[in-house]
């Protein structure tokens, strides 16, 4: 008998899971994918892969995949299958009706970091050129928007300063609010390799993660901080650097704004940030804070990797600035082995940030309020563009609840499951008159949608992804799109139905348009990537094959100098109380991915069939909870039920869960506070109570009274 999984064809493409962006050979037999083999030439992964990219590809073929467009006039009606053209025409007529009645700014669009660069760029074009407003956002809003803000304001570029391989020259690795061995496993393996060679490891994280201690990986210092005290602890590290004169004065004088450095020294050098005062606030030993400061400043090569544990706070942007300040003050930027690097959750968060899916900037981070930039887009697109910033995703939801926002095009996102304060999101969705959802599956948000465009998985389309090290790689079509159209085609045809005449013969032409309109991408093309495999931006006439390490000579700011921001610690208003005595923080695990849309539909679920609540033994005893018991967790925003797991990974007073499963509704309890600068939600700190229950109740009855929008 012939081998039924013997591949006949192989296509090189890029994994669509985390921000590492591994190169893969997708092998097919007929129109079925039979294997994903990590690509040896992939510059992000060098032939390695993790359990998601290697095995969790079958979701594309899941039985509940939607294969025809759907419409309905009310969310209480059943869905009706229609042709593509009917769906485009219906959505377009609804959007036009809403704009005629409620104004041009009453609708908006949201793209996803699971989409390609080309799709993200087209979605901003749809909002700006076709809908005629700047109500365009990306799911990077709810994860790494503070990265863009915080790093741009210190070191000038809201992106990783290094390529992944740079870590192989690091002597001290500081991981803040990230868990690369689970969240970014292929990069995590490279980090472990360097640790085995003798690099020191500092971890700042409320939880004793795998990165703190696991095979080939043990932190020299772990600051198990109380959630919400990042800025306090980073300022205290800076305090030691200033007071003990551990900073690199030569670097600061040559490369930074010295006056701002002095202002910063005055702030963090103040007694209030002494480890002896901050230690008790953050619940860590002051001696450990001093040890971290000395280790980081001592290098010789120290590098920072951070994740959503820094950004998803009411002071998320301030926390990122703290990291920029630290890197500048110790001269840990501008060469291999050092740097400040965000680890991105989704495959294309960096692309989502770069490609203008933001209400205030076009692609290349240039402001919509800037006349010259806007003119270049108007010339290319042939329309007059809105000169004012639009609504951010959380603002759109707030505006929907208030009644001023009535329609939304959502590409590859599930805000009802993934956004905080779920009851508020549902209220917003219910108050809109036309929600157009573009996805692979009917998800939580589809319950409130009026039009459904069945999308294509990353295995069914062409385009590019930009990974966490700014590397642009090709996504190649491995099989034909199951619903007939690639995602970029769907967006273009929807633009056409709205009356905007544009056509592309392939997404390479969209990348060419991106290159014409975005300085850092000016040298990018399908032809370049096909020739050299991948390229890191900036890619332009000065760097025709891209740039591995940023900031070697100067920082991309007007005067070329890095600068220091004043990062005062402001405690979050989310506090524990008698009623909600625990702090909940959230995270993810190796085998599942984000809200689980893809991985839950694969056998990877055998490793993680449900979300569990990790609780310390001491707290568990006090609450009468045993391992495996069902518990009800409540906050002032809502309540959920899940099973408890007694764990030494969390300190007393802290509980932790993942958010991979829709049924556990982790975001029903998360707080509605957000970052001061970007509105990135404060997912990482919510005051909760935990009570043991006998068995789960029917979830439909939960919190019914809070589901209606407040007048």
């Amino acid at each position: 008998m012939p081998n039924p999984i013997k591949p006949e064809k192989s296509v090189i493409t890029t994994c669509a899971y985390c921000g590492v962006g591994c190169g893969f050979k997708a092998e097919t037999r007929g129109e079925k994918i039979v294997r994903m083999i990590p690509w040896k030439e992939g510059k992000a992964n060098h032939g390695h892969s993790c359990i998601k990219g290697r095995f969790a590809y079958d979701y594309y073929n899941a039985p509940d995949r939607v294969l025809t467009p759907l419409i309905r006039s009310s969310i209480n009606d059943p869905w009706k299958s229609v042709s593509w053209q009917e769906a485009f025409d219906y959505a377009a007529s609804e959007f036009k009706r809403i704009q005629a009645k409620f104004g041009v700014k009453s609708i908006g669009a949201v793209s996803s970091s699971r989409c390609t660069n080309e799709e993200i760029f087209l979605t901003q074009k749809l909002a700006r050129a076709v809908l005629g407003n700047n109500n365009i956002d990306n799911c990077a809003r709810i994860c790494h928007s503070p990265t863009q803000f915080g790093l741009t304001n210190t070191i000038g570029a809201g992106a990783a300063s290094q390529h992944f391989d740079s870590i192989l020259q690091a002597d001290v690795i500081m991981v803040v609010g990230a868990n690369p061995t689970e969240g970014h496993p292929v990069f995590g393996s490279m980090m472990k390799r360097r640790i085995r060679e003798g690099a020191k490891l500092i971890v700042i994280d409320p939880r004793k993660t795998e990165t703190v201690e696991s095979a080939h990986c043990k932190a020299d210092v772990h600051l198990a901080i109380r959630p919400g005290t990042n800025v306090a602890i980073l300022d205290s590290i800076a305090h030691v650097i200033v007071r003990e004169k551990l900073y690199n004065e030569a670097f600061v004088r040559a490369r930074c704004e010295v006056k701002e450095f002095e202002n910063w020294m005055a702030l963090v050098g103040d007694d209030k940030y002494a480890p002896e005062l901050i230690g008790p606030i953050a619940n860590v030993d002051p001696a450990d804070i001093r040890k971290v400061a000395r280790m980081y400043a001592g290098g010789p090569n120290s590098t920072i990797y951070y994740g959503l544990g820094v950004t998803e706070h009411s002071q998320g942007s301030t926390g990122v600035m703290c990291l920029g300040n630290l890197g500048l003050s110790c001269g840990m930027l501008g060469r291999e082995g050092v740097g400040v690097n965000p680890l991105r959750g989704q495959g294309n968060v960096q692309g989502g940030s770069c490609l203008g899916s933001w209400p205030h900037v076009f692609s290349g981070y240039r402001f919509v309020t800037d006349y010259a930039t806007r003119s270049s887009f108007e010339a290319e697109w042939g329309v007059t563009l809105d000169a004012e910033p639009g609504l951010r995703l959380p603002n759109m939801l707030d505006a929907a609840v208030a009644g001023s926002f009535k329609g939304m095009y959502i590409m590859g996102e599930d805000p009802v499951q993934s956004d905080p304060n779920q009851h508020h999101v549902i209220a917003a969705m219910k108050s809109m008159e036309c929600v157009v959802l573009h996805d692979l599956f009917l998800n939580e948000t589809s319950k409130y949608a009026h039009v459904f465009f069945p999308g294509s998985s990353s295995l069914e389309k062409d385009g590019t992804f930009t990974n966490a090290e700014r590397r642009v790689s090709r996504v190649r079509k491995v099989i034909e799109p199951l619903a007939g159209l690639q995602d970029w085609e769907i967006t273009v045809k929807f633009m056409n139905a709205m009356g905007y005449n544009v056509s592309y013969s392939n997404p390479g032409e969209v990348l060419d348009e991106i290159a014409r309109l975005s300085p850092n991408y000016s040298g990018m093309s399908f032809a370049l990537i096909d020739r050299i495999g991948s390229a890191q931006w900036p890619c332009n006439v000065d760097a025709p094959e891209g740039t591995e390490v940023l900031h070697r000579e100067k920082f991309p700011r007007a005067n070329g100098l890095g600068t220091f921001m004043l990062t005062e610690y402001v405690p979050t208003s989310e506090r524990t109380s008698d009623r909600y005595p625990f702090l909940l923080t959230t995270g993810r695990i190796l085998t599942q991915y984000n809200v689980g849309t893809q991985t839950r539909r694969t056998p990877n679920s055998l490793w993680h069939p449900e979300d569990l609540l990790e609780i310390n033994e001491q707290d568990a005893v006090a609450c009468g909870v045993r391992d495996g018991d069902w518990v009800k967790m409540s906050s002032k925003f809502g309540q959920i039920e899940l099973r408890a797991r007694i764990s030494e990974r969390v300190n007393p007073g802290i509980v932790y869960t993942t958010f991979h499963h829709a049924k556990s509704k982790a975001n029903a309890v998360t707080s509605d506070l957000s970052d001061w600068a970007t509105n990135c939600p404060e997912y990482k700190v919510t005051a909760v109570d935990v009570v043991r229950i006998n068995a789960p109740t029917e979830d439909a009855s939960l919190d019914a009274e809070r589901l209606e929008p407040a007048e």
Binding site: K101, F102, G103, V104, K105, T152, N153, E257, K259, E260, L267, S314, Q315, S317, T318, P359, H360, F367, T369, D370, Y371, A372, E388, P389, G390, L391, R392, N395, D398, A399, V401, A402, G403, S404, F405, M565, L566, E568, V570, S674, W676, A677, T678, N679, E711
Partner: protein, 96 residues
């Protein structure tokens, strides 16, 4: 709340308490800067990142007294009314 709202009518874009919370948070960040840079930083942030309807809602509240806002937030937001503070090509945090 009526549905007869049409373009240009004075309907708040979103709940006022949300606007005030966000404005005061921005004020908290800029608090350690000296008064002039603090006001300019707040003004630039609102100008660059806020939908104009959100700014209008904030300014209307300030005109009505602005009691729930920190005084330096009021000072910064008021700069929005005077275009001489607009610096072409520069919208970031306060400059030295």
């Amino acid at each position: 709340m009526t549905l007869s709202y049409s373009q240009g009518a004075a309907m708040p874009v979103m709940a006022l308490d949300r606007i005030l919370l966000m404005a005061n948070q921005i004020g908290d960040f800029f608090a350690p800067y000296p008064p002039e840079r603090r006001a300019e930083g707040i003004r630039n942030h609102l100008r660059t990142y806020w939908d104009p309807r959100m700014r209008d809602e904030l300014l209307q509240y300030i005109d009505a007294g602005g009691a729930a806002l920190a005084p330096h937030v009021v000072a910064g937001a008021k700069l929005l009314q005077d275009e001489s503070h607009a610096k072409p090509g520069y919208y970031g945090p306060p400059k030295a």
